[in-house]
Protein backbone atom coordinates (compact mmCIF):
# COMPACT_ATOMS: atom_id res chain seq x y z
CA UNK A 1 0.00 0.00 0.00
CA UNK A 2 1.46 3.33 -0.99
CA UNK A 3 1.38 6.40 1.24
CA UNK A 4 -1.27 8.02 -0.98
CA UNK A 5 -3.69 5.13 -0.66
CA UNK A 6 -3.12 5.07 3.11
CA UNK A 7 -4.06 8.76 3.27
CA UNK A 8 -7.01 8.13 0.97
CA UNK A 9 -8.44 5.32 3.11
CA UNK A 10 -7.91 7.30 6.30
CA UNK A 11 -9.77 10.38 5.08
CA UNK A 12 -12.46 8.28 3.38
CA UNK A 13 -13.08 6.41 6.62
CA UNK A 14 -13.30 9.68 8.57
CA UNK A 15 -15.60 11.15 5.91
CA UNK A 16 -18.01 8.19 5.94
CA UNK A 17 -18.01 7.96 9.73
CA UNK A 18 -18.66 11.67 10.23
CA UNK A 19 -21.32 11.73 7.50
CA UNK A 20 -23.08 8.83 9.21
CA UNK A 21 -22.82 10.64 12.56
CA UNK A 22 -24.44 13.76 11.07
CA UNK A 23 -27.70 11.92 10.47
CA UNK A 24 -27.66 9.57 13.47
CA UNK A 25 -26.53 11.81 16.33
CA UNK A 26 -29.42 13.43 18.19
CA UNK A 27 -27.86 16.69 19.30
CA UNK A 28 -28.15 19.17 16.38
CA UNK A 29 -25.04 21.14 17.39
CA UNK A 30 -22.93 17.98 17.40
CA UNK A 31 -24.47 16.99 14.06
CA UNK A 32 -23.41 20.34 12.59
CA UNK A 33 -19.89 19.86 13.96
CA UNK A 34 -19.70 16.39 12.39
CA UNK A 35 -20.77 17.97 9.11
CA UNK A 36 -17.79 20.31 9.48
CA UNK A 37 -15.54 17.28 9.97
CA UNK A 38 -17.06 15.68 6.86
CA UNK A 39 -16.31 18.83 4.82
CA UNK A 40 -12.72 18.93 6.01
CA UNK A 41 -12.20 15.24 5.18
CA UNK A 42 -13.73 15.75 1.72
CA UNK A 43 -11.42 18.72 1.19
CA UNK A 44 -8.44 16.57 2.11
CA UNK A 45 -9.55 13.95 -0.43
CA UNK A 46 -9.77 16.62 -3.13
CA UNK A 47 -6.34 17.82 -2.15
CA UNK A 48 -5.13 14.28 -2.79
CA UNK A 49 -6.26 14.44 -6.45
CA UNK A 50 -4.43 17.79 -6.85
CA UNK A 51 -7.60 19.89 -6.88
CA UNK A 52 -6.14 22.28 -4.32
CA UNK A 53 -8.29 25.24 -5.34
CA UNK A 54 -11.55 23.34 -4.88
CA UNK A 55 -10.31 21.79 -1.65
CA UNK A 56 -9.34 25.11 -0.10
CA UNK A 57 -12.49 26.85 -1.31
CA UNK A 58 -14.60 24.06 0.19
CA UNK A 59 -12.98 24.73 3.56
CA UNK A 60 -13.14 28.50 3.10
CA UNK A 61 -16.78 28.73 2.04
CA UNK A 62 -18.49 25.81 3.76
CA UNK A 63 -16.42 25.38 6.90
CA UNK A 64 -15.42 29.00 7.35
CA UNK A 65 -18.69 30.73 6.53
CA UNK A 66 -21.75 28.57 5.86
CA UNK A 67 -21.35 26.19 8.80
CA UNK A 68 -20.56 29.02 11.20
CA UNK A 69 -23.89 30.64 10.37
CA UNK A 70 -25.54 27.24 10.53
CA UNK A 71 -24.13 26.63 14.02
CA UNK A 72 -25.20 30.14 14.91
CA UNK A 73 -28.83 29.21 14.20
CA UNK A 74 -28.70 25.64 15.50
CA UNK A 75 -27.17 26.67 18.82
CA UNK A 76 -30.15 28.92 19.56
CA UNK A 77 -32.74 26.17 19.00
CA UNK A 78 -33.92 24.51 22.18
CA UNK A 79 -34.38 20.87 21.21
CA UNK A 80 -36.53 18.50 23.19
CA UNK A 81 -35.06 15.05 22.52
CA UNK A 82 -38.07 13.11 23.78
CA UNK A 83 -40.33 15.01 21.38
CA UNK A 84 -37.95 14.27 18.53
CA UNK A 85 -38.19 10.53 19.14
CA UNK A 86 -41.99 10.61 18.99
CA UNK A 87 -43.55 9.38 15.78
CA UNK A 88 -40.36 7.69 14.59
CA UNK A 89 -42.29 4.52 13.73
CA UNK A 90 -44.99 6.41 11.83
CA UNK A 91 -42.52 7.99 9.47
CA UNK A 92 -40.28 4.94 9.14
CA UNK A 93 -41.96 3.25 6.09
CA UNK A 94 -42.19 6.44 4.03
CA UNK A 95 -38.75 7.65 5.10
CA UNK A 96 -37.22 4.24 4.40
CA UNK A 97 -38.78 4.18 0.94
CA UNK A 98 -37.38 7.62 0.13
CA UNK A 99 -33.96 6.57 1.42
CA UNK A 100 -33.91 3.40 -0.70
CA UNK A 101 -35.03 5.40 -3.75
CA UNK A 102 -32.27 7.93 -3.20
CA UNK A 103 -29.61 5.22 -2.87
CA UNK A 104 -30.82 3.59 -6.12
CA UNK A 105 -30.86 6.92 -7.95
CA UNK A 106 -27.40 7.82 -6.72
CA UNK A 107 -26.09 4.39 -7.74
CA UNK A 108 -27.46 4.93 -11.25
CA UNK A 109 -26.28 8.51 -11.57
CA UNK A 110 -22.82 8.38 -10.01
CA UNK A 111 -22.09 4.64 -10.14
CA UNK A 112 -19.03 3.05 -11.77
CA UNK A 113 -20.77 3.14 -15.17
CA UNK A 114 -20.43 6.92 -15.23
CA UNK A 115 -17.49 7.56 -12.94
CA UNK A 116 -15.50 4.33 -13.20
CA UNK A 117 -11.75 4.27 -13.75
CA UNK A 118 -12.24 3.71 -17.52
CA UNK A 119 -14.35 6.88 -17.76
CA UNK A 120 -12.33 9.09 -15.39
CA UNK A 121 -8.68 8.06 -15.37
CA UNK A 122 -6.36 8.96 -12.51
CA UNK A 123 -5.12 12.51 -13.20
CA UNK A 124 -1.52 12.69 -14.32
CA UNK A 125 0.79 14.08 -11.64
CA UNK A 126 1.70 17.62 -12.65
CA UNK A 127 4.81 19.57 -11.72
CA UNK A 128 4.95 21.93 -8.76
CA UNK A 129 4.82 24.95 -11.09
CA UNK A 130 1.33 23.93 -12.28
CA UNK A 131 -1.31 26.18 -10.75
CA UNK A 132 -4.68 24.54 -10.42
CA UNK A 133 -6.23 27.91 -9.61
CA UNK A 134 -5.00 29.52 -12.83
CA UNK A 135 -6.15 26.58 -14.97
CA UNK A 136 -9.59 26.62 -13.38
CA UNK A 137 -9.89 30.39 -13.77
CA UNK A 138 -8.94 30.30 -17.43
CA UNK A 139 -11.51 27.60 -18.10
CA UNK A 140 -14.27 29.32 -16.10
CA UNK A 141 -13.83 32.72 -17.73
CA UNK A 142 -13.35 31.54 -21.32
CA UNK A 143 -15.09 28.26 -22.19
CA UNK A 144 -17.72 28.30 -19.43
CA UNK A 145 -18.18 32.04 -19.06
CA UNK A 146 -21.94 32.05 -19.85
CA UNK A 147 -22.91 29.19 -17.49
CA UNK A 148 -20.72 30.86 -14.86
CA UNK A 149 -22.41 34.24 -15.25
CA UNK A 150 -25.86 32.64 -15.28
CA UNK A 151 -25.02 30.86 -12.02
CA UNK A 152 -23.88 34.17 -10.56
CA UNK A 153 -27.13 35.88 -11.57
CA UNK A 154 -29.20 33.04 -10.09
CA UNK A 155 -27.29 33.42 -6.82
CA UNK A 156 -27.90 37.17 -6.90
CA UNK A 157 -31.63 36.57 -7.34
CA UNK A 158 -31.54 34.20 -4.37
CA UNK A 159 -29.78 36.83 -2.25
CA UNK A 160 -32.31 39.51 -3.17
CA UNK A 161 -35.20 37.11 -2.52
CA UNK A 162 -33.82 36.13 0.88
CA UNK A 163 -33.36 39.76 1.90
CA UNK A 164 -36.79 40.71 0.59
CA UNK A 165 -38.40 37.87 2.56
CA UNK A 166 -36.80 38.92 5.84
CA UNK A 167 -37.33 42.67 5.41
CA UNK A 168 -40.47 43.46 7.34
CA UNK A 169 -40.99 47.11 8.08
CA UNK A 170 -42.72 47.38 11.38
CA UNK A 171 -44.01 50.83 12.23
CA UNK A 172 -43.05 50.59 15.91
CA UNK A 173 -39.40 49.70 15.32
CA UNK A 174 -36.99 52.42 16.41
CA UNK A 175 -34.03 52.92 14.13
CA UNK A 176 -30.82 54.70 14.95
CA UNK A 177 -29.69 57.17 12.36
CA UNK A 178 -25.88 57.13 12.47
CA UNK A 179 -25.60 60.40 10.52
CA UNK A 180 -27.67 62.17 13.14
CA UNK A 181 -25.66 60.56 15.92
CA UNK A 182 -22.39 61.70 14.41
CA UNK A 183 -23.59 65.22 13.68
CA UNK A 184 -24.84 65.88 17.18
CA UNK A 185 -23.37 68.99 18.81
CA UNK A 186 -22.64 69.55 22.45
CA UNK A 187 -25.03 72.51 22.59
CA UNK A 188 -27.94 70.30 21.49
CA UNK A 189 -27.53 68.04 24.47
CA UNK A 190 -25.94 70.16 27.15
CA UNK A 191 -27.06 73.42 28.68
CA UNK A 192 -24.62 75.34 30.83
CA UNK A 193 -26.28 77.59 33.38
CA UNK A 194 -24.23 80.35 34.87
CA UNK A 195 -25.13 81.36 38.37
CA UNK A 196 -23.41 83.46 41.00
CA UNK A 197 -21.53 81.65 43.74
CA UNK A 198 -23.47 81.34 46.93
CA UNK A 199 -21.69 82.10 50.18
CA UNK A 200 -22.20 80.27 53.40
CA UNK A 201 -24.39 82.42 55.55
Amino acid sequence: MTFESLVFYFFSAVLLWSAAMVVTIRNPVKAALFLVLAFVSAASLWMLVEAEFLAIVLVLVYVGAVMVLFLFVVMMIDVNLAELRQGFGDYLPLGGLVAVLMVVEMAIAVGPAQFGLHKVPIPAALGSHYSNTRALGELLYTVYVYPFEVAAVILLVAIIAAIALTMRRRPDTKYQNPAQQVNVQARDRLRIIKMPTEHKS
Binding site: F3, V29, K30, L33, V36, E52, F53, I56, V57, V59, L60, V63, G64, A65, V68, L69, L71, F72, M75, M76, S128, Y130, S131, N132, T133, Q176, P178
Partner: protein, 348 residues
Protein backbone atom coordinates in the same frame (compact mmCIF):
# COMPACT_ATOMS: atom_id res chain seq x y z
CA UNK B 1 29.63 14.24 14.79
CA UNK B 2 30.63 11.39 12.49
CA UNK B 3 28.63 8.85 14.47
CA UNK B 4 25.62 11.20 14.44
CA UNK B 5 25.96 11.43 10.66
CA UNK B 6 25.92 7.68 10.25
CA UNK B 7 22.93 7.44 12.62
CA UNK B 8 21.09 9.99 10.46
CA UNK B 9 21.87 8.13 7.25
CA UNK B 10 20.68 4.85 8.78
CA UNK B 11 17.11 6.19 9.08
CA UNK B 12 14.77 5.36 6.18
CA UNK B 13 14.23 8.19 3.72
CA UNK B 14 10.62 8.95 4.72
CA UNK B 15 11.52 9.30 8.38
CA UNK B 16 14.37 11.64 7.47
CA UNK B 17 11.89 13.92 5.69
CA UNK B 18 9.47 13.64 8.60
CA UNK B 19 12.11 14.45 11.22
CA UNK B 20 13.50 17.32 9.17
CA UNK B 21 10.01 18.83 8.74
CA UNK B 22 9.24 18.36 12.42
CA UNK B 23 12.46 20.16 13.25
CA UNK B 24 11.46 23.05 10.99
CA UNK B 25 8.01 23.23 12.59
CA UNK B 26 9.59 23.36 16.06
CA UNK B 27 11.94 26.08 14.81
CA UNK B 28 8.89 28.16 13.88
CA UNK B 29 6.56 27.38 16.78
CA UNK B 30 9.02 27.82 19.67
CA UNK B 31 10.12 31.37 18.71
CA UNK B 32 6.46 32.14 17.94
CA UNK B 33 5.35 31.08 21.42
CA UNK B 34 8.17 33.11 22.97
CA UNK B 35 7.16 36.17 20.96
CA UNK B 36 3.55 35.65 22.04
CA UNK B 37 4.70 35.63 25.67
CA UNK B 38 6.74 38.78 25.21
CA UNK B 39 4.03 40.44 23.13
CA UNK B 40 1.78 40.31 26.20
CA UNK B 41 4.60 41.93 28.16
CA UNK B 42 5.14 44.56 25.43
CA UNK B 43 1.43 45.27 25.38
CA UNK B 44 1.29 45.89 29.11
CA UNK B 45 4.37 48.09 28.97
CA UNK B 46 3.27 50.10 25.91
CA UNK B 47 -0.20 50.69 27.30
CA UNK B 48 1.18 51.66 30.71
CA UNK B 49 3.50 54.23 29.21
CA UNK B 50 0.64 55.61 27.12
CA UNK B 51 -1.36 55.92 30.35
CA UNK B 52 1.58 57.42 32.28
CA UNK B 53 2.16 54.33 34.40
CA UNK B 54 5.21 52.09 34.71
CA UNK B 55 3.64 48.68 34.08
CA UNK B 56 4.98 45.33 35.31
CA UNK B 57 8.48 45.86 36.76
CA UNK B 58 8.79 43.48 39.74
CA UNK B 59 9.53 39.99 38.37
CA UNK B 60 13.12 39.70 37.16
CA UNK B 61 15.23 42.61 35.91
CA UNK B 62 12.86 45.45 34.89
CA UNK B 63 9.97 42.98 34.83
CA UNK B 64 11.34 40.89 31.97
CA UNK B 65 10.37 37.60 33.62
CA UNK B 66 6.73 38.66 34.06
CA UNK B 67 5.39 36.60 31.08
CA UNK B 68 7.23 33.51 32.38
CA UNK B 69 5.64 33.98 35.79
CA UNK B 70 2.21 34.43 34.18
CA UNK B 71 2.65 31.24 32.15
CA UNK B 72 3.69 29.28 35.26
CA UNK B 73 0.73 30.59 37.20
CA UNK B 74 -1.70 29.58 34.44
CA UNK B 75 -0.09 26.13 34.13
CA UNK B 76 -0.50 25.42 37.84
CA UNK B 77 -4.11 26.60 38.15
CA UNK B 78 -6.98 24.16 38.30
CA UNK B 79 -9.17 23.64 35.24
CA UNK B 80 -12.80 23.86 36.29
CA UNK B 81 -15.44 22.29 34.06
CA UNK B 82 -18.85 23.87 34.73
CA UNK B 83 -21.83 21.64 35.53
CA UNK B 84 -23.92 20.75 32.50
CA UNK B 85 -21.06 21.60 30.19
CA UNK B 86 -20.23 19.34 27.28
CA UNK B 87 -16.88 18.04 28.50
CA UNK B 88 -15.32 16.94 25.20
CA UNK B 89 -16.25 20.11 23.34
CA UNK B 90 -15.32 22.24 26.34
CA UNK B 91 -11.76 20.92 26.23
CA UNK B 92 -11.65 20.81 22.43
CA UNK B 93 -12.61 24.47 21.97
CA UNK B 94 -9.30 26.08 23.08
CA UNK B 95 -7.42 23.58 20.91
CA UNK B 96 -9.57 24.55 17.92
CA UNK B 97 -8.89 28.20 18.69
CA UNK B 98 -5.11 27.95 18.70
CA UNK B 99 -4.71 25.39 15.90
CA UNK B 100 -5.40 27.74 12.93
CA UNK B 101 -3.20 30.45 14.43
CA UNK B 102 -0.26 28.03 14.32
CA UNK B 103 -1.06 26.15 11.08
CA UNK B 104 -1.18 29.28 8.93
CA UNK B 105 2.51 29.96 9.65
CA UNK B 106 3.36 27.03 7.36
CA UNK B 107 3.09 29.23 4.27
CA UNK B 108 4.38 32.58 5.61
CA UNK B 109 7.69 33.46 3.93
CA UNK B 110 10.19 34.98 6.39
CA UNK B 111 12.97 35.52 3.84
CA UNK B 112 13.29 34.57 0.13
CA UNK B 113 14.35 31.04 1.13
CA UNK B 114 13.02 30.67 4.67
CA UNK B 115 9.50 29.28 4.27
CA UNK B 116 8.17 25.95 5.52
CA UNK B 117 5.88 25.19 2.54
CA UNK B 118 6.14 27.32 -0.59
CA UNK B 119 2.71 26.37 -1.95
CA UNK B 120 1.02 27.83 -5.02
CA UNK B 121 -2.29 28.57 -3.34
CA UNK B 122 -0.68 30.04 -0.22
CA UNK B 123 -2.99 33.01 0.17
CA UNK B 124 -6.11 30.86 -0.18
CA UNK B 125 -4.66 28.43 2.33
CA UNK B 126 -4.15 31.21 4.86
CA UNK B 127 -7.70 32.48 4.31
CA UNK B 128 -9.19 29.00 4.70
CA UNK B 129 -7.19 28.15 7.80
CA UNK B 130 -7.81 31.45 9.59
CA UNK B 131 -11.53 31.18 8.81
CA UNK B 132 -11.60 28.06 10.99
CA UNK B 133 -10.49 30.04 14.04
CA UNK B 134 -14.05 31.09 14.80
CA UNK B 135 -15.01 27.52 15.75
CA UNK B 136 -12.96 27.70 18.92
CA UNK B 137 -14.92 30.72 20.06
CA UNK B 138 -18.33 29.42 18.98
CA UNK B 139 -17.86 25.96 20.51
CA UNK B 140 -16.43 27.44 23.71
CA UNK B 141 -19.50 29.59 24.12
CA UNK B 142 -21.92 26.78 23.49
CA UNK B 143 -20.13 24.05 25.47
CA UNK B 144 -19.69 26.14 28.64
CA UNK B 145 -23.44 26.03 29.40
CA UNK B 146 -23.38 29.69 30.41
CA UNK B 147 -25.46 32.59 29.15
CA UNK B 148 -22.61 35.09 29.10
CA UNK B 149 -20.31 32.76 27.21
CA UNK B 150 -23.09 31.97 24.76
CA UNK B 151 -23.84 35.63 24.08
CA UNK B 152 -20.14 36.30 23.58
CA UNK B 153 -19.79 33.48 21.07
CA UNK B 154 -22.85 34.63 19.12
CA UNK B 155 -21.47 38.13 18.87
CA UNK B 156 -18.10 36.79 17.83
CA UNK B 157 -19.50 34.49 15.14
CA UNK B 158 -21.50 37.26 13.48
CA UNK B 159 -18.62 39.71 13.70
CA UNK B 160 -15.96 37.37 12.33
CA UNK B 161 -18.11 36.20 9.42
CA UNK B 162 -18.91 39.83 8.50
CA UNK B 163 -15.32 41.02 8.59
CA UNK B 164 -14.00 37.96 6.80
CA UNK B 165 -15.88 39.08 3.70
CA UNK B 166 -14.25 42.51 3.76
CA UNK B 167 -10.89 40.85 4.36
CA UNK B 168 -11.38 38.45 1.45
CA UNK B 169 -12.29 41.30 -0.89
CA UNK B 170 -9.22 43.24 0.22
CA UNK B 171 -7.13 40.21 -0.70
CA UNK B 172 -8.79 40.07 -4.14
CA UNK B 173 -7.14 43.44 -4.78
CA UNK B 174 -3.77 41.99 -3.78
CA UNK B 175 -4.34 39.10 -6.18
CA UNK B 176 -5.20 41.47 -9.02
CA UNK B 177 -2.04 43.49 -8.41
CA UNK B 178 0.37 40.61 -7.85
CA UNK B 179 -1.20 38.09 -10.24
CA UNK B 180 -0.37 35.10 -8.03
CA UNK B 181 -1.57 33.31 -4.91
CA UNK B 182 1.92 32.34 -3.82
CA UNK B 183 2.91 34.48 -0.83
CA UNK B 184 6.59 34.40 -1.76
CA UNK B 185 5.85 35.61 -5.30
CA UNK B 186 3.50 38.30 -3.95
CA UNK B 187 6.41 39.67 -1.92
CA UNK B 188 8.80 39.44 -4.85
CA UNK B 189 6.29 41.36 -7.00
CA UNK B 190 6.84 44.31 -4.62
CA UNK B 191 10.63 44.48 -4.95
CA UNK B 192 12.42 47.71 -5.77
CA UNK B 193 11.93 50.25 -2.99
CA UNK B 194 8.99 51.11 -0.77
CA UNK B 195 7.15 52.95 -3.56
CA UNK B 196 6.65 49.55 -5.19
CA UNK B 197 5.00 48.06 -2.12
CA UNK B 198 1.35 47.26 -2.60
CA UNK B 199 0.06 49.43 0.25
CA UNK B 200 0.36 52.54 -1.94
CA UNK B 201 -1.75 51.54 -4.98
CA UNK B 202 -4.08 49.52 -2.72
CA UNK B 203 -4.26 52.04 0.09
CA UNK B 204 -8.04 51.71 0.76
CA UNK B 205 -7.73 47.93 0.73
CA UNK B 206 -4.75 48.12 3.06
CA UNK B 207 -6.78 50.12 5.57
CA UNK B 208 -9.77 47.78 5.22
CA UNK B 209 -7.51 44.76 5.68
CA UNK B 210 -5.95 46.19 8.80
CA UNK B 211 -9.31 47.13 10.36
CA UNK B 212 -10.80 43.72 9.55
CA UNK B 213 -7.69 42.12 11.01
CA UNK B 214 -8.28 43.94 14.28
CA UNK B 215 -11.92 42.81 14.20
CA UNK B 216 -11.02 39.21 13.33
CA UNK B 217 -8.71 38.92 16.33
CA UNK B 218 -11.44 40.32 18.62
CA UNK B 219 -9.11 43.10 19.72
CA UNK B 220 -10.20 46.48 20.94
CA UNK B 221 -12.08 48.47 19.68
CA UNK B 222 -13.93 45.38 18.36
CA UNK B 223 -13.76 43.18 21.46
CA UNK B 224 -17.51 42.85 22.10
CA UNK B 225 -16.98 39.06 22.11
CA UNK B 226 -15.24 39.56 25.47
CA UNK B 227 -16.97 42.78 26.48
CA UNK B 228 -16.05 42.54 30.16
CA UNK B 229 -18.24 45.48 31.10
CA UNK B 230 -21.31 43.90 29.47
CA UNK B 231 -21.00 40.11 29.44
CA UNK B 232 -18.26 39.53 32.05
CA UNK B 233 -15.59 38.02 29.78
CA UNK B 234 -17.67 36.67 26.93
CA UNK B 235 -16.91 33.31 25.42
CA UNK B 236 -14.10 32.33 27.80
CA UNK B 237 -15.76 33.32 31.08
CA UNK B 238 -15.92 29.69 32.28
CA UNK B 239 -12.36 28.83 31.33
CA UNK B 240 -9.52 28.74 33.82
CA UNK B 241 -5.89 27.71 34.01
CA UNK B 242 -4.33 26.27 30.86
CA UNK B 243 -7.57 26.17 28.86
CA UNK B 244 -7.88 29.93 29.32
CA UNK B 245 -4.20 30.34 28.52
CA UNK B 246 -4.75 28.64 25.15
CA UNK B 247 -7.40 31.20 24.20
CA UNK B 248 -5.04 33.92 25.28
CA UNK B 249 -2.18 32.43 23.26
CA UNK B 250 -4.48 32.05 20.26
CA UNK B 251 -5.48 35.72 20.34
CA UNK B 252 -1.90 36.91 20.45
CA UNK B 253 -0.65 34.34 17.93
CA UNK B 254 -3.42 35.53 15.61
CA UNK B 255 -2.31 39.12 16.11
CA UNK B 256 1.25 38.23 15.13
CA UNK B 257 -0.02 36.18 12.19
CA UNK B 258 -2.17 39.01 10.85
CA UNK B 259 0.70 41.47 11.27
CA UNK B 260 2.98 39.09 9.36
CA UNK B 261 0.37 38.75 6.61
CA UNK B 262 -0.10 42.52 6.40
CA UNK B 263 3.67 42.77 6.08
CA UNK B 264 3.89 40.13 3.37
CA UNK B 265 0.90 41.33 1.35
CA UNK B 266 1.11 45.10 1.61
CA UNK B 267 4.45 46.13 3.11
CA UNK B 268 6.88 44.16 0.98
CA UNK B 269 7.66 41.31 3.40
CA UNK B 270 11.39 40.93 3.89
CA UNK B 271 12.29 43.61 1.28
CA UNK B 272 14.18 46.69 2.40
CA UNK B 273 12.48 50.07 1.83
CA UNK B 274 15.37 51.40 -0.27
CA UNK B 275 17.51 49.53 -2.76
CA UNK B 276 20.85 51.17 -1.92
CA UNK B 277 23.76 50.60 0.38
CA UNK B 278 23.06 51.10 4.11
CA UNK B 279 19.60 49.56 3.83
CA UNK B 280 20.61 46.47 1.86
CA UNK B 281 23.20 45.57 4.53
CA UNK B 282 20.40 44.76 6.96
CA UNK B 283 19.47 41.07 6.61
CA UNK B 284 16.00 40.42 5.08
CA UNK B 285 14.76 38.65 8.20
CA UNK B 286 15.43 41.77 10.29
CA UNK B 287 13.35 43.88 7.90
CA UNK B 288 10.56 41.34 8.21
CA UNK B 289 10.70 41.46 12.02
CA UNK B 290 10.83 45.25 12.04
CA UNK B 291 7.74 45.55 9.85
CA UNK B 292 5.81 42.95 11.84
CA UNK B 293 6.70 44.77 15.07
CA UNK B 294 5.53 48.08 13.62
CA UNK B 295 2.14 46.64 12.70
CA UNK B 296 1.91 44.97 16.12
CA UNK B 297 2.60 48.30 17.76
CA UNK B 298 -0.37 49.73 15.86
CA UNK B 299 -2.56 47.02 17.42
CA UNK B 300 -1.36 47.95 20.91
CA UNK B 301 -1.75 51.64 20.17
CA UNK B 302 -5.35 51.12 19.02
CA UNK B 303 -6.14 49.30 22.24
CA UNK B 304 -4.78 52.15 24.35
CA UNK B 305 -6.59 54.82 22.32
CA UNK B 306 -10.10 53.75 21.38
CA UNK B 307 -13.17 52.89 23.45
CA UNK B 308 -15.18 49.81 22.54
CA UNK B 309 -17.57 50.00 19.57
CA UNK B 310 -21.25 49.43 20.10
CA UNK B 311 -22.39 46.17 18.53
CA UNK B 312 -24.67 47.69 15.87
CA UNK B 313 -21.89 50.12 14.95
CA UNK B 314 -19.53 47.21 14.36
CA UNK B 315 -22.01 45.53 12.03
CA UNK B 316 -22.70 48.79 10.22
CA UNK B 317 -18.99 49.46 9.73
CA UNK B 318 -18.38 45.95 8.41
CA UNK B 319 -21.28 45.62 6.01
CA UNK B 320 -22.04 49.19 4.96
CA UNK B 321 -18.61 50.83 4.95
CA UNK B 322 -15.75 48.35 4.56
CA UNK B 323 -17.32 45.94 2.04
CA UNK B 324 -18.53 48.74 -0.33
CA UNK B 325 -15.10 50.41 -0.13
CA UNK B 326 -13.37 47.20 -1.19
CA UNK B 327 -15.90 46.57 -3.98
CA UNK B 328 -15.46 50.07 -5.37
CA UNK B 329 -11.69 49.83 -5.29
CA UNK B 330 -11.71 46.42 -7.00
CA UNK B 331 -13.91 47.95 -9.72
CA UNK B 332 -11.56 50.92 -10.09
CA UNK B 333 -8.59 48.56 -10.37
CA UNK B 334 -10.30 46.41 -12.98
CA UNK B 335 -11.24 49.38 -15.14
CA UNK B 336 -7.78 50.97 -14.85
CA UNK B 337 -5.92 47.73 -15.60
CA UNK B 338 -7.97 46.73 -18.63
CA UNK B 339 -9.19 49.99 -20.22
CA UNK B 340 -6.65 52.71 -19.46
CA UNK B 341 -2.93 53.20 -20.17
CA UNK B 342 -2.24 53.53 -16.41
CA UNK B 343 -2.35 49.79 -15.75
CA UNK B 344 1.26 49.95 -14.50
CA UNK B 345 -0.05 51.68 -11.36
CA UNK B 346 -1.72 48.49 -10.18
CA UNK B 347 -0.47 45.53 -12.12
CA UNK B 348 3.11 44.27 -11.79
Amino acid sequence: MGSLGTLWVSFPAWSQILLWDLLKIVAIVVPLMLSVAYLTFAERKVISYMQVRVGPNRVGPRGWLQPIADALKLLLKEIIVPTGANKILFVLAPVLAIMPALVAWAVVPFTPSLVLANVNAGLLFVLAVTSMGVYGVVIAGWASNSKYAFLGSLRSAAQIVAYEIAMGFALVGVLMAAGTLNLRKITLAQSGGFWHWLFLPLFPLFIVYFISGVAETNRLPFDVAEGESEIVAGFHVEYSGMTFALFFLAEYANMILLSALTTVLFLGGWLSPFDFAPFTWVPPFVWFLLKVSTVLFLYLWLRATFPRYRYDQIMRLGWKVLIPVTLVWIGVMGVVIFFTPWAFLFYR
